[in-house]
Symmetry: C2
Subunit: 144 residues, 2 copies
DNA sequence: TTATAATTAATAATGATTATTAAAAAAGAA
DNA sequence: TTCTTTTTTAATAATCATTATTAATTATAA
């Protein structure tokens, strides 16, 4: 998404288009390496020295909430442990953050696809399915 | 891995077999939902009221370091953002935590495999490849 | 313009995790 | 066993990423 598209998208979702939001979004788009809030903060501060780290956090969360950007992992708040160390696959409920194992031969057979640079040594992979679990689904259906 | 296997595995990697380690491991294995350190702490404390939360953390980290257990995501320390909100796939360097996009039609074509319960509504999925990036690889090769 | 709502900056608070340190337990030698 | 050394634990303090608060600023709209 380019700058003009971003401005339109903000209007679409009812967010005021501010200098800060444009600067943060632009800086994020300059990156291909998925920066942290602090990375963005340090860079935006070059052009805009009065910006606050809390504003960067708040802006990134706001943009993510409106699906203009995203977090690589939104499961980063608290560590979750697994009784096995073998790579396998998971179902994650985005509401209650329940994590369930998936046992699937098909997923284990994926292998390394084209599009992966040869100079990156892959050790393993995991597939994460995001969705809504049964109990969260029925909980949200109740009040309608 | 069962209790006896765990005891053997501890000896294998040179960890003393303590009551706390067994209790924490057993409790983790009772779960299918990938508990947090605090979840484990609250439960182990029923049987062993003097245990400390810091011990639970330390034990879980120690067991994970020796590959007896694992973290569902070890990329949980700081949030990383992405300029797009569309689900896609990533290469993650486990050394420097660099995150790189993969563009792969094959991965996008996986679909929902057998083994996923029908009452879980899947919204999207992402594949994460863990490995060592080129610069980390050559950095580790230098000193040999 | 003036009123109202949204956003920002600065800072304090929160909370998960880690570090520290002294006591307790385990291992090893004799 | 007993003495010595190493590992582990418990308690607590410290750290640090993130969030909440709040007053000032800016945008929107009448
Ligand atoms: Mn699992
Ligand atoms: Mn990405
Ligand atoms: Zn759920
Ligand atoms: Zn790397």
């Amino acid at each position: 998404m380019g700058r003009d598209e971003f401005i339109d998208a903000c209007k679409q979702v009812g967010l005021n288009v501010t200098y800060q939001r444009i600067a943060i979004f632009n800086k994020l788009m300059e990156h291909t390496d998925h920066p942290s809030a602090d990375d963005i903060y340090k860079e935006v501060r070059q052009d805009y020295p009065t910006i606050s780290l809390a504003t960067v956090y708040k802006t990134l969360e706001t943009l993510a909430k409106h699906d203009l950007i995203s977090k690589v992992t939104y499961l980063h708040d608290i560590a979750r442990y697994d009784g096995t160390s073998e790579a396998h696959h998971h179902l994650v409920c985005i509401k209650c953050k329940k994590i369930i194992d998936i046992d699937s031969n098909a997923l284990d057979a994926i292998g390394i696809p084209a599009g992966v640079p040869g100079n990156f040594r892959i050790l393993n992979y995991r597939v994460q399915f995001d969705g809504i679990c049964e109990s969260c689904e029925s909980a949200s259906t109740e009040q309608e």
